[in-house]
């Protein structure tokens, strides 16, 4: 039997790490997933600029933004899509950047908090969060703001929500709609009421 380089690596790695194997993962499944890290070259349009990078295929969009591109405004909270701290706008839609791979976004346009506004030129939503004290520790804030900007567009585009009374009438710009649509962004400091005030102020200015 000839041992290919790949098989050798699989066998070698399984032997070397046998004691570290988590319980209840079958050996077969474990061996099937073992390989040398696969690398991939991708281009992202980040905040209007093309950025070329080479990433391990395992790299999430969140890690690519933070670790490869040093755009650390986007935060890692739970890393499992439960908290919303990693929210960015990709191809015009808000998403959890922790639950998508950078390689899946080759060619995508990504807007992070840094792309919305910087201290010398704040986005209206950033200014409103400051005015209304829409945070305490600030860790969830970049995700809240990216989400909020996208929420106003979703309402303007007529996308209904769980609390919209009618599916056939356009959704209204009211607090209940904002609260429901922001439910994927958790704020453990509990700045929710001020966040809703900030979003409401921006919503009242015609886009």
């Amino acid at each position: 039997m000839t041992i290919s380089r790949r098989n050798f690596l699989i066998l070698g790695a399984v032997t070397a790490t046998a004691f570290a194997m988590p319980p209840f993962i079958s050996l077969k499944a474990y061996a099937a997933s073992l390989e040398q890290p696969a690398m991939s070259k991708i281009t992202l349009q980040v905040n209007g600029k093309p950025r070329e990078l080479e990433v391990d295929t395992r790299t999430t969009l969140l890690d690519a933004l933070r670790e490869n591109l040093h755009l650390t405004g986007t935060k890692k909270g739970c890393d499992h899509g439960q908290c919303g701290a990693c929210t960015v706008i990709a191809d015009g839609r808000r998403i959890n950047s922790c639950l998508t791979l950078a390689v899946m976004h080759d060619g995508s346009e990504v807007t992070t908090i840094e792309g919305l506004g910087m201290p010398d030129k704040l986005h209206p939503m950033q200014a409103a969060f400051i005015k209304h004290d829409g945070y305490q520790c600030g860790y969830c804030t970049p995700g809240q703001i990216c989400s909020a900007v996208a929420v106003l567009k979703e309402i303007r585009d007529g996308i209904p929500s769980h609390v919209s009374p009618s599916l056939t009438e356009p959704p209204q710009l009211i607090a209940a709609e904002l609260q429901e649509r922001m439910s994927g962004n958790i704020c453990r400091c509990g700045a929710y009421s001020n966040i809703i005030e900030a979003i409401t102020e921006v919503a009242e200015v015609p886009a």
Partner: protein, 317 residues
């Protein structure tokens, strides 16, 4: 997360063929799969990205229904004008699930194929016949408040977590697929998900490499559509119990229930009792249920939720 090769498929048939390789998985929205990969619950060696196959359209069918591409995002499906008008149950079920960010990523087929949120499935230090066949079920005898009360077995009491699937079941959706040999077939929604029996790791009737291309809805059936989800917080939580109802003016209708079983739970013989009220329907629907002390409340909750939904439907009609 374990290393994997990543490729983009260029046709549904090619995706299906590529998926025959051991350890291969399709990735679409990725919201469930990547979560499970980070936890070492899914360990694919090859990811086949199916996001670029043009399966993101919703088209009218010659029969008067809709053909929903497998890659249509949950947000787009819920917001489609035809779905909102003629299949309101589907819009409502989608909007009751997940968060805005997740619905923007999650796809129609991915939603159907998402895995259970049973905490014992998620904890790799616990025995789980779904995650590791033959290892046992730590959920049985454990904390079971969220878990299933009917359709379960001695090997597994996990629920199917999807809201959308409840609506698809009530609407008699058909699942269109392509197989590695290029042949296609259509699977009734009722037959897509399997009960656990002795093989809870086999969750659907899909064959290895079989790829969902679309979900087809028959012509609209009319009636009043209501989806009511009971959960521990008012948004962004999985259902304890959810009821999807389509009620016609003559008092007949359809009922599918979520949060209680390993698949969308619909019993046609129970629906026939709709004119007799919620108690008669839920008794028949839950016949043979084997709840635990922790989740026995779900039996009462199904009846009460159905009663509430029926009252609302009569008010609306």
């Amino acid at each position: 997360m374990r290393a994997f090769n990543y490729t983009r498929a260029d046709s549904p048939a090619a995706a299906s063929q590529a998926a025959q390789v051991e350890g291969a998985k399709f990735i679409a929205g990725g919201t469930n799969l990547l979560d499970l990969m980070k936890l070492d619950i899914e360990t694919p060696a090859h990811l086949i990205d199916v996001n670029h196959l043009g399966l993101d359209q919703i088209e009218a069918t010659p029969e008067g229904g809709l053909r929903i591409g497998a890659l249509v995002r949950n947000t787009d499906l819920a917001a489609d004008a035809r779905v909102r008008k003629d299949y309101a149950l589907l819009s409502r079920a989608l909007l009751a699930g997940a968060s805005g960010q997740l619905r923007n990523m999650a796809t129609t087929a991915g939603n159907l194929l998402q895995r259970t949120r049973c905490p014992y499935f998620y904890d790799t230090h616990q025995a789980c016949n779904k995650r590791n066949p033959g290892s046992g079920c730590s959920a049985i005898g454990g904390v079971t408040r969220q878990l299933a009360v009917i359709g379960v077995s001695d090997a597994c009491i996990a629920t199917h977590p999807s809201d959308m699937a409840i609506a698809m079941r009530a609407l008699d959706a058909q699942i269109e697929t392509v197989r590695p040999d290029g042949s296609t077939r259509s699977i009734p929604m009722a037959d897509l998900h399997q009960l656990p029996g002795n093989t809870p790791h086999i969750e659907t009737s899909l064959m290895p490499g079989e790829f969902i291309t679309a979900v087809t809805l028959p012509a609209p059936v009319g009636g009043t559509h209501i989806y009511h989800k009971v959960r521990d917080r008012s948004s962004y939580a999985f259902a304890l119990v959810s009821v999807g109802l389509i009620l016609q003016e003559d008092g007949t209708g359809r009922v599918a229930v979520g949060g209680i079983a390993p698949k969308p739970w619909r019993v046609e013989a129970a629906e026939a009792l709709l004119p007799k009220g919620a108690k008669a329907v839920s008794e028949r629907l839950l016949e043979g249920a084997t709840p635990t002390d922790d989740n026995h409340f779900k039996l009462t909750l199904v009846e009460r939720t159905l009663a509430s939904v029926l009252a609302q439907a009569r008010e609306t009609a």
